[in-house]
Amino acid sequence: MKPALRTLFVLALGLAAAALPGQGASQGASQGGRTQWSAELVDQLGSLPVMGGGRVKPMLSHAGVSMLMLSNKRSLTLEEGARIQPVDWWLTVALEGDEADQLPIFKVTDVAVIEQIGLSTAGHKKRDSFSYAELEPGLSRLFAEARKLRGTEPDDRSRLQKQTWDLYLRVSHYESIRMAFAWARADFELGDEVLRDRFGGASSVRFSDLLPVAHELVEEYKALGAAGATVETDPHMKALDGVIEFFEFHTGRFDVPFEVIPPDMDHPGPNATPEQKHAWEFWRDPLHLAAVAVRGEPVTERELDVLRALEDFARAEDDGARAAAIARVDELSRAIAEDRGADETRAIGLEVSYLDLNLHWHGIWFFVLAFLFGAASVLVGIAGGSAKGGQILRWFGNGALGVGLAMLVGAVTLRCMIQLRPPITNLYETILFIAAIVVASAAVLEWFHRKGFSLAIGGALGAIAVLGAHRFEFSSGDDTMRPLVAVLDDNFWLATHVTTINIGYAAGMLAAAVAAVTLVIYAGVRLASPRIDPPWFRGLYRSAVTIVYAVTCFGVFFGVVGTILGGVWANDSWGRFWGWDPKENGALMIVLAQLFILHGRLGGHLLKFGQLFWATLTGTIVIFSWFHVNQLGVGLHAYGFSEAVDTAIGIGYWTFGTMAGVGLLGRIIEWTVMAAGEPTGETQSSPPPLPSQTRS
């Protein structure tokens, strides 16, 4: 490796390490009134496999999704600046409920929903966070409102009703976590001698002690009842009645989101019913396991061991013991999972690494650096600075862009390895994939043109896209690796149609960004000197037009092939090649806009300015197709309306529209000056043609 490259590599690693989150060395102690969980416990619990949302994932991901659902964030920042990570928060809610109740975890987009349940919002902003303790006085009213909404169609609800229902779901989710270990901490007082003798004379037993004999005790109760005994006359029957009440109290709730016990059973075989397959696939919550035991269905010793270890975890006095208990749960559940042969825990470690590294998020800093170096090199060129200086700046910028791209590609690759899918399975992943393609394309263009222009745009777009991906994840409040619905469950089409069409989107966005920035510069130049083009501008303008043309060609290829492949997929899935679905139409509109530019260029109808202007407007069409059609609420790709996405779409339209408008203003200035025929400075004798008037 060349010394310069080695230096860059070391610098990049250093920056990456600096950007990674620090691993706090908390020790389960109280700090500032807040419990600090030890790193050992947090790590151990974070890598515990659990089932949630239809897949097995690490607890780190599971807790993160819970946090996203409640607060639209993956961490909680307190007023004093402390930041609580998902597993720490989950531990606090599950084990230190009173303390967790004070944390402002419920994000509310409009405080009207709080006022509706009879609570004051004094001191709160319109969009603010509330703690469970703050909401508690209004919960009975919230649940009453939710009961009224239960029978209504989601589409028929008003905005406030939707928010009320949403808050109800989030409060229920929180309460489920808060009560997740109530069973494990409860002692059951054995009511009579017969029962006490059965448990070796103990006066009280744990949940896990009762469970193996639960069915037997229920049967005994039934037999006594059949023989004419009653709880009033028979003390043993009264004691057994207490056992049944104890189980009913705890197992009556099945919404506890902690499905951590893989069913310890053999695969039911290829001819099994869907119910049998579901019973085999669906990891059990401890209370689900208890219900199974009470019904008299088989519960294995290993499953009971998991339950006992969870009980030890909930009852432990210190983090060391808690971590040891979770390690036992982890060991047992992985052993069961391995024996099932379903390969369910295969990607747990990978997903923990993916979440811990958060590569694409940290890559933003490198994209910002690439933008700064690229922009600086362009400015050096404009100011007539030394070529060597500009070259060095570009060199650093390219390095930063390369590192950022590698981190982004690393993140996308890790997601592919975790899901065993091509890079795109949902809207969130389109953002990461498109960002990677845009940055890679910008790097290739910079290699050809070496002016820092593509570098700056690639860096800026990379940073904006990854930031947008984060905002999208937060606003959706859901797992970004959800399992696929039946129609999408086809890796061939995901790898062909979905990737090609998104490469087409990426090309459209890159061409639009290059064209938009060039138009703004063009307008600035026209305002400064209507008839004279500075030398630096001629080169930049020519390069920009070439870049827009090249990227548009690239986009047309992938857009056309991707769109038609989508039709072929639809032909296989639904029996029609083209159904005028909004998403199909959006893809077609991008292709039409790009073909309009290419044919306009060929026919001489669109000169340089025209190509840049239409390419900029194509950016709005890409936004329409990429996101807006999903918001329309019609067609096969309607994923539900999101206000945050709607705002982002508006910003995108406004940005490209304004930049195109500014460019047009520059063009009007040019026309006006040309029409007036004003002689100016150096161009009196024979003015050279302005770049926008020539064909490339």
């Binding site: 089932m51 949302g53 239809g54 897949r55 499905e259 869907p274 397959k277 579901h278 696939e281 669906f282 990891w283 050809f448 959800r482 399992p483 696929l484 619905v485 039946a486 129609v487 469950d489 086809d490 089409w493 090249a550 060609c553 690239f554 047309v556 290829f557 056309v560 092939v561 038609i564 039709g567 072929v568 997929w569 032909n571 296989d572 899935s573 639904w574 029996g575 029609r576 090649f577 083209w578 005028w580 679905d581 909004p582 139409n585 959006g586 077609l588 509109m589 039409l592 806009a593 073909l595 309009f596 044919h599 306009g600 026919g603 109808h605 059609v629 329309l632 609420g633 019609v634 067609g635």
Partner: protein, 430 residues
């Protein structure tokens, strides 16, 4: 002949027309118009249905697009319809994109191939639009007792099998003459035959269409055909466009994309056993209208057009699996037995993205039910399509991809060669 003599020879009219039809200007105009039609048609789906949008924007020769209300005026603009644009664009493509570049050498070979591929797609789309027939068939799972008996348990259950499928949009008036042996002889009249039997409109009287069949002893006089209507009590219905009959009147139903449309007609049978019989016949009626003529019963109903399949299709098992702990469908599929005219059986598995193709027909897994309430017996919904252009998209996309790849790779190679030469010249100068 001198050079100047050659120069003054005016182009023929045909050449002029050809130049216009194959011009870049026309191409750009078509692309521009198609873009706006696509956008307007997409947005129209939000307010109206997909089908309404298709008919108004994409399959029409022209459209009056409503821009909205501004300054108290409803602004409208006439635009070419999608069908017209596609026809003109295809001609432009043929003349400008194929014939004009035919002899221009290898430089444009990729463009030529891509244009040929697009033309093929246009032809495929035209064939699909005019000659494809789409419909659905709904089959119930065998009863649990039959399932326990194995695959053959459902052979005698008519709910599990079908040899006809129902057209997606077309309806027919069916008259079934009940035979002495209990069987029925069917007479069917597809809806295009009586589509003109419209109610009275401004400046137009209502029209009556008479339907007859050679061996059918009935004359059917159809009037007031409505594509989307519902029978209502005449007493409470104002602004009626159809007459009241036995206290009922057919009234237009609300056009809501969420609900299926049901047509209705007024049917009159003159001289039927000495009297004229009249009735409303509605597409959603549970029971047919029964009349007697010449000692025989005739069952009359309006139903979705029934189309024959070349085989009998019987559901053996329907599987619907969710991702564990969610309501998210992971897989749904149908195991069916296809029995051809010769009586031989084939076991076929149909699932999402995995249709069954045979004899010009394609059968897709498209739905299932019931989706609510306790389920003791699922049914599967299979889309049946007879599309002569079924494989054209595959061929078209392959040709287009090949053409574009050749063209852009050649362009890239030329660009790289040019850049290298420029760098070499710059090096030599310095």
């Amino acid at each position: 002949m001198t050079d100047s003599a050659k120069a003054v020879a005016p182009p023929s009219l045909l050449a002029k027309v050809g130049a216009v039809l194959g011009s870049y200007t026309l191409c750009m105009a078509c692309l521009f118009a198609l873009f706006w039609i696509t956008l307007f048609g997409t947005l129209y789906q939000v307010e109206e249905s997909l089908l309404a949008s298709q008919i108004k924007y994409f399959e029409s020769w022209g459209v009056i697009h409503e821009l909205g209300t501004f300054l108290g005026v409803d602004w409208k603009v006439p635009l070419p319809g999608g069908y017209l644009i596609m026809v003109v664009l295809s001609i432009n493509l043929l003349i400008g994109g194929v014939m004009r570049v035919w002899n221009r050498g290898t430089r444009v070979i990729g463009v030529l191939i891509a244009h040929l591929g697009i033309l093929l797609l246009c032809v495929g789309a035209w064939v699909r639009l005019h000659y494809a027939v789409d419909g659905q068939v709904q089959l119930f799972e065998p009863l649990p007792a039959a399932q326990a008996a194995g695959d053959d348990g459902s052979v005698d259950d008519p709910a599990t099998q079908a040899q006809v499928y129902l057209h997606d949009h077309n309806w027919e008036l069916a008259v079934i003459a009940r035979q002495p042996d209990g069987s029925g002889k069917e007479y069917t009249f597809p809806d295009p035959l009586f589509a003109d039997a419209q109610p009275a409109a401004e400046g137009k009287n209502s029209r009556v269409v008479t339907l007859r069949a050679t061996t059918l002893p009935l004359t059917l006089e159809v009037s007031h055909f409505m594509r989307n209507c519902v029978p209502r009590e005449a007493a409470g219905t104002e602004a009626r466009s159809a007459p009241a009959l036995e206290g009922l009147v057919l009234a237009p139903a609300v056009d809501d994309p969420k609900f299926r449309k049901f047509p209705g007609i007024y049917l009159e049978i003159p001289e039927l056993e000495g009297a004229t019989k009249k009735s409303i016949v509605w597409g959603r009626s549970v029971a047919p209208w029964v009349v007697r003529a010449a000692g025989r019963e005739y069952l009359i109903s309006l139903r979705r057009q029934r189309l024959e399949m070349p085989w009998n299709i019987r559901l053996v098992d329907f599987v619907k699996e969710d991702h564990p702990g969610t309501g998210l469908a992971r897989r749904f599929s149908s195991d069916v037995v296809i029995t051809d005219a010769a009586g031989s059986d084939r076991d076929v598995h149909i699932s999402m993205n995995n249709p069954f193709r045979d004899d010009g027909f394609v059968v897709y897994q498209s739905g299932w039910g019931p989706q609510e309430g306790p389920v003791d017996r699922y049914y599967t919904v299979l889309t049946v399509s007879k599309n002569p252009a079924d494989l054209i998209p595959w061929i078209g996309v392959s040709i287009i991809a090949l053409g574009l790849a050749i063209h852009f790779i050649m362009k890239l190679a030329r660009f790289i060669r040019r850049e290298a030469a420029r760098a070499q010249r710059a090096g030599a100068t310095s």
